[in-house]
Assembly symmetry: C2
Homo-oligomer: 220 residues x 2
């Protein structure tokens, strides 16, 4: 299996981490998604990520990729054989990959990464303010859920937590999370971050943009 991947792409990150955690062999092809890439564009209309190649089949998007992996593995670790729990995992994935992305990650990635390397425009502070306001609301909602059940979809770690943590990791690289406001989320994130597979997926550095101070720290 091959996956087009960049450590600052929350979509390919969550699928690559899931495959590593489930011990599914895969090769990562580095994809700097802010650069024009005719090879990638020929596989993914509208530039949607991630793109996985399974033998002759191209699978595009977190939803089809996740469901493919789920169907192919007997390993229920991080997933669930209980349909209601699995439905909850899918809903949290949908929350982060759709709503959190549209309201938070997409803006921050565009303003702080794409603009610097691609459009070369200035950061729009009103968009950043909106993204931070939305981030705050999502973090409060996460705090409440984590406080209640320890993790996002059930009382134990699941793929849902990896999806959420993948988005947070990317925006944390840019230093946009004021962790002191969300101690419950911070505690949960530190637990996930200390997993060797998640940690190895944090590695990477973009020339010109240093990661925030606590990005790589396990305890901060």
């Amino acid at each position: 299996m091959q996956i087009y991947h960049h450590f600052l792409c929350p979509f390919s990150k969550q699928i690559a981490i899931l495959m590593s955690e489930l011990d599914i062999a895969h090769i990562k092809i580095e994809h700097q998604f802010w650069k024009p890439n005719p090879e990638f564009d020929s596989l993914s209309m509208w530039g949607e990520r991630p793109v996985m190649i399974v033998e002759d089949t191209v699978i595009v998007g977190t939803y089809p990729c996740f469901e493919y992996i789920l169907a192919e593995t007997d390993n229920k670790y991080l997933l669930s054989s209980d349909l209601i729990t699995l439905t909850r995992i899918r809903q949290v994935a949908n929350w982060f990959n759709k709503h959190f992305y549209e309201q938070v990650s997409a803006h921050i990635i565009h303003e702080k990464l794409v603009k610097i390397f691609s459009t070369r425009e200035y950061i729009d502070t009103s968009i950043m303010r909106l993204a931070h306001k939305n981030l705050h609301e999502h973090m409060l909602k996460m705090s409440a859920i984590i406080d209640m059940q320890g993790y996002l979809a059930q009382d134990d770690l699941s793929y849902a937590d990896l999806v959420a943590a993948s988005h947070l990791a990317v925006i944390d690289y840019f230093g946009d999370i004021n962790w002191s406001l969300y101690p419950k989320v911070k505690e949960w994130y530190c637990l996930i971050k200390s997993r060797p597979i998640f940690r190895s997926n944090l590695e990477g550095k973009i020339t010109g943009i240093d990661p925030s101070k606590n990005y790589l720290k396990l305890d901060f």
Copy 2:
């Protein structure tokens, strides 16, 4: 099972049609999604549709709803027991529910329905022009696929076709499709529209907005 539903909502439409086709008992609760509805909002953050109620569980969004139904039924009609075909069905669902919606349906529904009943602003012709340009591109892509294999995800009808047809039916209500440009898509759509269950889901009328001339015609 209960589903919040409106015949001009492409999301609840596709799930309601799927349940009818698979003979799954369900009750529709009319949901005029352009009106404030505290009961609905308490179930669905960000107003995402559809919302299904299964015993005590609330399931939000086409992706979790579809996967729940798929897991609960042994009936593989409209679905597939072949993983690669099922993956293709999911990708087409993702195409229409994400990209087609964002580029086409969302704009037309907002300009021609939400604005009239909710915000009371004028239709923005530049947005309508963009939606029509995007619609044209998607219709050409559909034409090519239908020409090649008869249907969108395989050489026979599947849930993927119902998803696509649900979006087209809503924008066809407003008369925004120039069918003469896309004979292959028109032929495919007429076949789907002539199915009794799809047809019964076309029924409905909004006071103040008449359906386009060919909206209810089986052959046009």
